[in-house]
């Protein structure tokens, strides 16, 4: 039941974004609606059901057949249970399956933590919202910048 409720939230968000669109611009292209400022939110299970687990947003969303959305300027943010931002993914474009909670693209993406000290670039990705798993398919490059302790003889 919890899983059903949680998984319904992004769908409702998508529908909300598409139907109401918060007063944003709408266009009609070949009979399909086109929304700007798309957002889909997933929440933690109880007792943190009021807190965001992830937020997938885009500058625009173009509905496709089969419940798919082509999202431009994707931004995916994940949060811990205290509401602190954990990771941010940016990609120029992806296809989002709002029913399965899956986003994918053959194009580039960037992943980084909130401070930018952990950064990843790659090409081609699959994001599975239900288990918060991001797979990067090609040319993965990670940079970790850290502080370290000076070693002093005891």
């Amino acid at each position: 039941m919890k899983a059903g409720l949680n998984s319904a939230v992004p769908v409702l968000s998508v529908l909300t974004a598409l139907v109401f669109c918060g007063g944003r611009a709408w266009t009609q292209q070949n009979g399909l609606s086109h929304a700007s400022d798309f957002t889909s939110v997933e929440y933690f299970a109880a007792p943190n059901q009021q807190r965001m687990k992830s937020r997938l947003s885009g500058a625009e969303a173009q509905p496709q057949a089969g419940g798919l959305l082509v999202i431009k300027k994707l931004k995916l943010e994940t949060f811990d249970a205290d509401g602190k931002p954990e990771m941010i993914v940016n990609a120029p474009e992806c296809v989002y399956d709002s029913l399965k909670g899956v986003a994918n693209s053959a194009g580039p993406l960037k992943l980084q933590n909130g401070s930018g000290s952990f950064r990843v670039d790659g090409e081609g990705f699959l994001w599975r919202q239900n288990d918060s798993l991001l797979t990067i398919s090609n040319r993965v490059h990670t940079v970790v910048e850290s502080t370290t302790e000076n070693k002093v003889a005891p």
């Binding site: 000290s117 952990f118 797979t135 990670t142 302790e149 003889a153």
Partner: protein, 188 residues
């Protein structure tokens, strides 16, 4: 012409000036050169906070370069290090020792653990699966090799041999002693 002469040296870890305890005192934090990881593919489990790199994995940091086929690492805290890394399959590590001499290490598995406890830094790489180290002195192997990076010390468990390159006509000395070392704690 040179030939390889196999010198089977069974040595104690003490003869290599090795210590199991390698704590160093932590001091104020300073920037550290970036660590870079490249691979063909990767999975980032954002719930478990783990990164799994697969295929032609290459790690480069100011102290060493590592290659392997599979590597899993804990995602670091902001500004922090990767504190637990497991590398598997054809692991190759190139680094330099305290004297600046190159050290070439191979194994099937390497487990890196970074800990700061009671103000002391422990940075340990445990190598298993036919581990060996090649340096200017020759090739050293053991059932397990434990590299204390912070102290730049290497410990061999059941050391096997030293392969030493000796020119023709030279006599290679043999100094065989029975190894007597404690088993290390199982890596995480």
């Amino acid at each position: 012409m040179k030939k390889f002469c196999l010198i089977a040296l069974f040595i104690t870890t003490n003869s290599l000036n090795l210590n199991a305890q390698t704590n160093t005192t932590a001091a104020p934090q300073t920037p550290h050169g970036p660590t870079q990881i490249d691979s063909d593919k990767a999975d980032f489990d954002l719930t478990a906070h783990k990164a799994i790199y697969r295929g032609n994995v290459r790690v480069s940091d100011p102290q060493m370069k590592l290659r392997c086929e599979w590597l899993v690492a804990d995602l670091p805290q902001p500004g922090g290090r990767m504190e637990h890394i497991v590398a598997e399959t054809n692991v190759v590590i190139d680094s330099t020792d305290a004297k600046g001499q190159p050290m070439h290490t191979t194994s099937e598995k390497a487990v890196y653990v970074y800990q700061v406890k009671n103000g002391a830094t422990n940075e340990i790489v445990t190598l298993t699966g036919n581990p060996q180290i090649v340096n200017a002195q020759g090739t050293q192997a053991g059932d397990v090799i434990i590299w204390h990076r912070a102290a730049d010390q290497v410990q061999f468990i059941n050391p096997h041999m030293i392969l030493k390159q000796i020119p023709d006509g030279a006599h290679g000395g043999t100094n065989s002693r029975t190894a007597n070392t404690n088993k290390p704690a199982a890596p995480k």
